[in-house]
Amino acid sequence: MTIIKSFPLIGVLILYLIAFIMPLIKKNSLVKFLSVISFSTCLILFITCLRYVIYNGSYFYKIGHFDAPYGIEFKIGIIECVIAVLFAFISLMVSWYSCYSIEHDIDERKIPLYYLLINILVGSLLGIVFSNDMFNVYVFIEIGNLASCGIVVVKGKKENIKAGLKYLIMSCLGSGLVLMGIAFLYSMTGHLNMTYIHESLIKSYMNYPQAIIITLGLFTVGLGVKSALFPLHTWLPDAHSSAPTSSSAILSSLVLKAYVIFLLKILYRVMGKEIIFNTPILNILLILGSLGMIMGSILAMFQKDLKRIIAYSSVAQIGYIYFAIGLGTELGVVMCIYHIIGHAVTKSALFLCSGSIIEKTCQKEITNLIGVGKEMPYTLALFFISSLSLVGIPLLPGFVSKWYLAIDSIGVNKLLLIIIILASSLLNAVYYLPISINGFFDEENSGGKIYKSKEKTIKELMPIAILVIAMFYVGINSEGIINLIKTALA
């Protein structure tokens, strides 16, 4: 059964290898098929690996038979496998959806290159999640950086190029800071492997009180820029709203999350509780997260463009994730990972729904989308259910994470935080619900619209429907998922 241990590496390699076959193929339908096949293979491999890890415990995987301090290492645990399954599942659904609609967004000749970039991007994100070596993670971050800029600019319009360049400059800033942080860690410990850095830091951290704070600051700001922590989020709305629909779904639900996972690894695997509790880092994350939860929603209320609203809502949801890290308890970390899962499923469904609405009606502004519920009832219904999750209606993942975050805020005696959670939920309701309500119930203005006239076919709606079903699963089975993550942390 040792072959199962290699599955994570095989999954990443399959994505990269298939990516470079794509530009050689002339037929676009074959390229799409290959993309779907590569993601479904990854999904099967990671599910098998998850089962193996649940029964046999986590393990280190050597790459190239060099032992740990010298060679590169993957650490495969339950959390890594859960996140990998999530990434493979979402990218499978998004690439399935894009098979039907990608021609509307980008030039036909660029389609093989587009799928190449998607495969490379998902491969590098999985690499960030699995790798236990700092410099290896840095290289994966840079690959992901270039690929994610690529899938923003692929549309070739004016605003895409502008958003893509803004994104590239901001994320280069971020990766420069991360590299400097890695240089600091290397000069303090002489290791690049996370386990060894931790061992060496625990012995000697008393000698470098300032250097530790500077390193944590470099990593927090660097990864904060890349994952759109509140005051550093300025690139996100442009990039996410102008990109093709399938790119926005992947950018918003996967790319941001991989950097959060890396920050979690820095905090808990490299530094360890003993060190981070001596620094104000968690409180800073808590404050920035709370600000993001409120300000992201407030900024979203003033937007007119449907995709920009969803993009600003991502800023608010990233705020929740950093809020959960900032609580600093075990439940906080668990809820951070649970919210990553819940938000990834919800936000990709929302982006795909809004993409279909914009594609069929050719209207971006929400004021022009009144009465769209009559034309596209199923799409708007799916949109409505997903937005309920972000508002926080029971049974859906958004409610579960808000509930546990509130409980945990009581646990750490910070009752003020509950008000922030409540305010943020109400603000979510303020800008999400009117879209669906005006879409379904505005009888006066929807007189001229014909029932189901612009609806997509069932085949095209299937990926979104499966995402919504997965969302219900994540919400209803929250107990099981939370217990699974808890056993991994213990």
Binding site: C149, V153, K158, K162, L165, L168, C172, G176, A183, Y186
Partner: protein
Amino acid sequence: MERLITNYYETASIILFGIGFATLLLHSNLIKKIIGMNIMDTSVMLFLIAKGYIQGNVAPIIVDEFKGVSEYVNPIPTSLMLTGIVVAVSTTALALALTIKMYEKYGTIELNEILEKGDE
């Protein structure tokens, strides 16, 4: 002050990092931004390579016989920075290509003029 002079490599690289960072953030010319990005990357390379250098030791190339571990400088930071250079080159290439596209679409590479023009 004493510490800054003895560790002059680190001091220089942090100053360079600051210059690059400020150029990247504050200038509105896109080419200057890219130059700032490169200065920032180069400063990190200087920092790491300086960390690997040990006074009086030779480059880690075995000429006649192996002199023992303590006689060579640390080769790992140097080889890491080889990867760092490749990464920096590819990001610069993408950024320059996008700048050319920007110039084609907007007719200028000053970011504040581009933002004023908007997307009309």
